[in-house]
């Protein structure tokens, strides 16, 4: 596994979940499932997170928060939607205040269905996210190199 995949730090945000999925996310950190054995830390800080776990659909009030948290996470980053509410809006889909799944406001990389999503499924989703994260890291590094080269050409043209 690559550099990022060995130390993915999670950020968990509750969009407008019924708290069922949140409890399952927290269950992942308990001795029974112990996600720290993959080097995963459940951090509360978007500045230091690599994976954004969102539970519940997005409502009009949480929309701006989700967008802000996503923008505060440094690249490369992935988003995992946990629970059917986060995937599509689920049982709350037709509510007047619900916009729908997480992908209505930010790009989602992995969908973990279930109501509530089981801890095994959540861990599985995160592990799938790791592969994506690694790919994004490679893309990001290539992009950074590309920018540098372009910068070099541009500054050369200036002279």
């Amino acid at each position: 596994m690559g550099k990022l995949a060995k130390s993915p730090w999670l950020l968990h945000y509750d969009g407008s979940s019924c708290n069922g999925c949140d409890i399952e996310v927290l269950a992942c950190t308990t001795p029974v499932y112990d996600i720290e054995r993959f080097g995963i830390i459940n951090t509360g800080d978007p500045f230091q997170a690599d994976i954004l776990l969102i539970t519940g659909g997005i409502n009009s009030q949480s929309e701006s928060v989700v967008k802000q948290i996503y923008s505060q996470m440094p690249n490369p980053k992935v988003v995992v939607a946990v629970g059917i509410c986060a995937c599509t809006g689920g049982i709350f889909k037709t509510c007047y205040n619900i916009k729908g799944g997480v992908d209505t406001v930010i790009p989602v990389d992995v969908y973990v269905p279930g109501c509530a999503a089981r801890p095994q499924a959540i861990i599985d989703g995160v592990v799938q996210a790791l592969a994506l994260l690694e790919q994004k890291r490679a893309d990001y590094a290539a992009q950074r190199r590309g920018v540098m080269q372009e910068g070099g050409i541009a500054s050369g043209a200036d002279q």
Binding site: F38, G39, T43, G44, D45, F47, Q48, P74, P76
Partner: protein, 287 residues
């Protein structure tokens, strides 16, 4: 010559030693909670990852201030490992902390500002004992010079048992272990996000972590000079005691909840007065 070697060894090996000790600590901590815990080399994976992340600077000085924190900590450690003046070493250690506080106050996040305030309270809590301790070393061995302190006939701890107890307290503050991890915590959730490190991302945070490893080795080094004397067997003894002290800190971390800042100040000052002050008084009387 030995001084040069030990300084170079400190500069190069301290981050690795600190990372390894941290890795072992995380596993031991996980076992205490009935979990398997991360791989031994996890701290290194974390730091490498942080360096590959996007440079997310909230302003242009934070990185510089964090670098100063790292450099001053390394200088303080070098002074200790070169066998120089212990008083000077402790002053430089405090200066380093000031840079971290400035780094945290330089951004606009209310959480890191709050963390910076708490870090200052922590400084107030541990500072008196460090001063008393260096005076204690002077009274016990007749010198502030680390080189002289560790080449005495007997270990300094025979004269300074109270100081060692007090120092155990302030090591918990410096290693950011519960119950004294007020300004920032290694644990996931804190009441103010990540406190002092809230707006440090990627490489900036990695630098702060490397600095913490320098600090960890420095603190354990200070524990060691309580035990070192001119006999060779004092060296393995000192290393064993350092590891034991670190184990006790982890145990304390796991059995105690975070305290409020008032309890921190009162607790530390009472311990400083009782253990440090009494120890110093007795030492002055018998000397």
């Amino acid at each position: 010559m030995t001084e040069v070697i030990s300084v170079v060894a400190y500069l190069i090996l301290a981050p690795f030693a600190g990372g390894l000790i941290d890795g072992v600590g995380r596993i031991v901590s996980a076992r205490m909670q009935g979990r398997k815990g991360p791989p031994l080399l996890q701290p290194f994976y974390d730091i490498i990852k942080l360096f590959t992340k996007q440079m997310f600077a909230v302003n242009s000085v934070q990185l510089l201030l964090n670098l100063s924190y790292l450099i001053f900590l390394a200088v303080a450690g070098c002074m200790l490992f070169a066998g120089a003046d212990i008083l000077m070493c402790l002053f430089v250690l405090t200066t380093a902390d000031m840079f971290l506080i400035m780094a945290a106050s330089s951004d606009s996040s209310p959480f890191s500002t709050l963390g910076a305030g708490r870090e200052m309270i922590q400084m107030m809590a541990y500072e008196p004992l460090t001063l008393l301790m260096s005076v204690g070393f002077y009274l016990a061995t007749g010198s502030f010079h680390v080189g002289t302190i560790i080449s005495g006939e007997y270990s300094a701890v025979l004269f300074l048992p109270g100081m060692l107890v007090g120092f155990f307290f302030i090591t918990a503050i410096k290693l950011r272990k519960s119950p004294f991890d007020l300004s920032t915590s290694h644990h996931a959730h804190q009441e103010m996000v990540k406190g002092i490190t809230t707006e440090m991302a990627g490489p900036t945070f990695a630098i702060m972590n490397v600095a913490e490893y320098y600090e960890m080795v420095l603190m354990l080094g200070l524990v060691a000079i309580f035990f070192l004397n001119k006999n060779w067997w004092s060296w393995p003894l000192a290393i064993a005691v350092c590891l034991f002290v670190y184990f006790l800190e982890i145990l304390w971390d796991n059995v105690c909840g975070r305290v409020k800042w008032k309890t921190l100040l009162e607790g530390c000052w009472i311990v400083t007065l009782l253990c440090g002050g009494l120890n110093l008084l007795i030492l002055m009387l018998i000397r």
